[in-house]
């Protein structure tokens, strides 16, 4: 397959895709008006509409995507996104709302946000919520900053946040950015939080424990209630990374386990599409005692009207200029309204069914380093293939040759050669069987023809890419 040219290579003087109405007011003499500051752009390319459309259309088909096939990227919940969401989020009454419009003009939007917040609180068991954070990571920052403010208010000087070694990278990063020190807690041989170690780590300087539950191994922290109690007994709080909410929505509410604060990734559990990397949305739900610290504004329902409450003296402040990723919220709202409590529970159940089916079928074929019951995802290890000179990366690349996306690899860090598989609930048994068959065939190939793996992928638009060169040469801005 030929490379698609860069858009700059289509450029030619006086080509154009744009059109605008003719200016119907007097022109401003820009050179005169702006003097030195006048500098009309002469740097952007010039292309026709047909070149534009063909270019991006051709580029698009180089991507694997959920609407084409299986995308078992662990921790990312790559479920199928209902098409109706794309329609509701594009209703002109939503898309054309200016962010500064008065609340009276945006009652529909505010109602949607308010109700979405209520649903999320109900689903998670928390007392209050903000929909402002733009993604999970910003939700973490928001949540941990609230924890910080909470202790500031109490006049306690706590500097440490504990994080299990299986945590996602955003957790420690968010903790640092919130001004805390991230301290790692080792997992047990079972893959859970080591309570003894946790107790040891608990001092008065500890502000918070950040938990992912089910953790990144896909396993439920069976002692979560006790864990929360331990932290609380030390005056510390417990944060839940809700990335894995899809495992238990409708079945268990983390608020009931004792968590103080959690973020929710709407782009995972609530089926808003991933956009090639974003946008997502990371609402943060909290218990009563953290409510005063929520970012501004908070949405209220009063006297039959929905409104923004800006009068929040203890708020950590804003994290975005406006009120969050509104169009993403619409999609999540639509999804929840369509599924209802039953449908959400069904989704969690099928997600867990699917993960356990894959686990069962691939156990023995790949190493399974942790044995507890899996929920929505299962983490294998490719160490058993090392003897053939094959790494997990090679398995991942080989999968691409079969038209399948690879699992998340090399995460969580506590699993060597990790293969983190999250099938999600929208995959059918046929789809799983196909993946399983391919995974088995690859494991066999690793023994019989390892070069098929180490040289993979073979059939993709490009072969294995030189990442070292990329980071060395840093060609990040076309100079042509």
């Amino acid at each position: 397959m030929k490379n698609e040219k860069l858009i700059f290579e289509y450029s030619k003087k006086e080509r154009r895709a744009w059109s605008l109405p003719k200016l119907d007011v007097p022109e401003v003499d820009l050179a005169e008006r702006f003097g030195d500051e006048y500098r009309p752009d002469d740097r952007l390319p010039e292309v026709s509409e047909v070149d534009l459309v063909r270019h991006f259309t051709r580029l698009s088909i180089l991507n694997h995507h959920v609407d084409k096939g299986f995308y078992p990227l662990g921790s990312c919940t790559m479920k199928y996104n209902p098409k109706v969401n794309e329609q509701t989020a594009r209703l002109p009454g939503f898309t054309s709302l200016h962010p500064y419009e008065n609340e009276e003009l945006a009652q529909g939007a505010l109602q949607l946000m308010y109700e979405l917040g209520e649903y999320l609180k109900e689903l998670t068991g928390f007392d209050a919520i903000t929909l402002e954070p733009a993604a999970g990571a910003q939700g973490e920052l928001t949540g941990i900053l609230m924890v910080r403010k909470y202790f500031e208010k109490k006049g306690e000087n706590r500097t440490v946040v504990l994080i299990p070694d299986s945590a996602h990278g955003t957790n420690p990063a968010s903790v640092t950015l919130s001004g805390f020190q991230a301290v790692q807690i080792k997992s047990t041989a079972e893959g859970l939080i080591d309570i003894a170690e946790l107790k040891r780590a608990c001092s008065d300087g500890v502000a918070c424990l950040m938990v992912t539950n089910p953790n990144t191994l896909g396993m439920f922290e069976k002692d979560i209630k006790e864990i929360c109690e331990i932290m609380h007994s030390h005056g510390a709080l417990v944060y839940l990374d809700g990335a894995n909410l899809n495992a238990y929505v409708g079945i268990h509410r983390p608020g009931d386990a004792g968590f103080d604060v959690m973020h929710i990734n709407l782009h995972k559990t609530f089926s808003t599409p991933h956009g090639g990397g974003g946008p997502g949305s990371g609402p943060v739900a909290v218990k009563k005692h953290l409510e005063p610290f929520l970012p501004k504004p908070v949405i209220k329902f009063q006297d039959g009207k929905y409104l923004f409450d800006y009068n929040r003296p203890d708020s950590i402040g804003r994290v975005l200029a406006f009120q969050g990723q509104f169009a993403v919220l619409i999609k999540a709202y639509t999804y929840i309204r369509m599924l209802g409590a039953e449908g959400l529970k069904d989704a969690a159940e099928c997600a867990v069914l699917n993960a356990n089916y894959i686990r069962k079928e691939l156990e023995g074929v790949y190493d399974l380093p942790y044995q507890r019951r899996s929920l929505h995802e299962v983490v294998f290890s490719g160490t058993n293939l090392k003897q053939f000179g094959v790494r997990t990366l090679d398995v991942a690349k080989r999968l691409l040759d079969f038209g399948l996306h690879a699992p998340t690899v090399y995460f969580p860090l506590i699993v060597p050669e990790a293969l983190m598989i999250e099938p999600t609930e929208t995959e059918s048994i046929e789809s799983l069987d196909e993946f399983i068959a391919v995974m088995k065939a690859i494991a066999l190939e690793a023994q019989t023809k390892p070069e098929n793996l180490t040289g993979a992928p073979w059939t993709t638009p490009v072969r294995r890419l030189d990442e070292a060169k990329a980071s060395r040469q840093l060609d990040v801005n076309f100079q042509g």
């Binding site: 509701t88 009454g93 840093l474």
Partner: protein, 448 residues
């Protein structure tokens, strides 16, 4: 409505394969007392048709710029969005993929990002751009961390002419980093007070953050500010407006070290404030301190050109607590929108849009300054936005505009009680002369 493809038989088959008796057993790792017993208090499930009806109903309760003539800006603008954008971004190839972790089956997304970076670099005349922050505010906030790391200094100055919303977000992020942020006053002309800057900046100042054109619409003395800032060894960080760059000097040309921007103007719908697009650019020497994803061009083992995520060692999934930022999911689809928009407009189009916004805004300013009771708050140059003093509280004008089918601007009293009679006004290329005249007539009704 369900989206699971599981038939009752499928479920039985899988259960039997797994070797558990029922679905509930799969959840036996969740302690019994933590399982939900009571039914959830959610509205009943809707069919797709009912959901559409319900959502249309909610949408119709809003009065947006599809039904009001919009003169409000302040960081979000009612620009024309060409249909090619939705055509492309509606392709599931783009919107149902995720971060291009497997580069070989993500070349579409990766090349788009490379083109995005290159287009932004060209427009800004900056050397490197990342592949998106959440919005301009959070992009600006991320520069605090970056400037601190680069300079090993611990103080930030931010001009009082920066969008107050952006300043709020900077403050939030800076709190987390324990970095004090000092706000610089502005002159009567609504631009940064250079004297105050000169007096305040010191050897522990990591960066000076300004907006240009500023929140009130006016051009700052960027070269002078750059000079003062660099003389003290601090970084010069500038939030700019990508549309204005169609006609005015880009940040690279006045030595900005980091330039950020709100990308909403580049084809992204207003959508009540999000998702938008944080544009983040810098000089190349700072690239290892940058937050966010960066794509680089390379080749595959056969020598064929390809694109990959570069410098991932900066990022949270590798560097963890020492990462340059915690950002993971970003605004990739919005970056695609901007890429299409900039391609659509090209050099001539972006200039024309800027020119039209400029001409229409000036048409308004020229008329409004003659309306008794209204005064332009500054005689400094502006491109697409300006601020007027109103004879009655701006709030009243905004309220009564609605009845006339007009969104009269941004009531700055929302941000500062001292600004209660300040109205920020913009006009994009979408506004016709008839609409401008109608607006002028509307303002005349407040004539003192």
């Amino acid at each position: 409505m369900k989206f699971t493809p599981h038939t009752p038989e499928d479920i039985q088959y899988i259960l039997q394969k797994i070797g558990v008796k029922d679905v509930a057993s799969l959840f036996d790792s969740i302690p019994q007392d933590l399982k939900l017993r009571d039914p959830l208090n959610l509205p009943p499930a809707l069919s797709e048709f009912e959901a559409l009806v319900e959502l249309r109903h909610l949408a119709d309760k809003n009065l947006g710029t599809d039904r009001l003539i919009c003169f409000a800006g302040g960081g979000a603008y009612d620009h024309y969005i060409p249909p090619v954008i939705d055509t492309i971004i509606s392709r599931p190839e783009f919107y149902t993929a995720y971060t291009p972790y497997q580069a070989e089956v993500s070349q579409g997304t990766l090349q788009v990002i490379y083109e995005f970076q290159s287009l932004i670099c060209r427009l800004f005349e900056m050397e490197v751009a990342n592949a998106s922050m959440y919005d301009c505010a959070s992009a600006l906030a991320e520069t605090v961390h970056m400037a601190r790391d680069i300079t090993s200094r611990h103080r930030i100055l931010i001009s009082g002419t920066v969008n107050p919303r952006y300043r709020e977000v900077v403050a939030t992020y800076a709190t987390g980093l324990n970095v004090p942020v000092q706000t610089l006053p502005y002159t009567a002309n609504l631009t940064t007070d250079l004297k105050a800057l000169n007096n305040t900046i010191d050897n522990d100042t990591a960066a000076v953050l300004i907006q240009h054109p500023n929140f009130f619409g006016y051009l700052e003395s960027v070269r002078a500010i750059a000079q003062i800032t660099h003389d003290k060894g601090a970084l010069f960080v500038c939030a700019v407006d990508p549309i204005s760059l169609g006609i005015i000097t880009p940040p690279g040309a006045y030595n900005a070290d980091i330039a950020v921007a709100e990308g909403q103007s580049l084809g992204i719908p207003l959508s009540f404030g999000g998702p938008y697009l944080g544009i983040f650019t810098a000089q190349k020497r700072y690239i290892r301190h940058m937050p966010g994803r960066i794509v680089a061009r390379t080749n595959d083992i056969t020598g064929k050109t390809g694109y990959v995520l570069a410098l991932q060692t900066r990022e949270q999934h590798i560097r963890r607590e020492r990462a340059t930022s915690n950002i993971c999911t970003n605004q990739a689809l919005c970056a695609l929108i901007a890429t299409i928009f900039l391609t659509w407009a090209g050099r001539a189009g972006i200039k024309e849009i800027a020119k039209q916004c400029c001409a229409k805004t000036h048409y308004l300013a020229d008329a409004i300054k003659h309306i008794t009771g209204f005064t332009l708050l500054s005689d400094r140059k502006f491109v697409r936005e300006f601020t007027v003093k109103t004879p009655v509280p701006a709030q009243e004008i905004v309220k009564s505009g609605i009845e006339s089918g007009i969104l009269p601007g941004v009531d700055l009293g929302n941000f500062n009680p001292e600004w209660s009679h300040w109205l920020s006004i913009t006009a994009t290329e979408k506004r016709t002369r008839a609409e401008l005249d109608r607006y002028i007539d509307f303002l005349k009704t407040f004539s003192a």
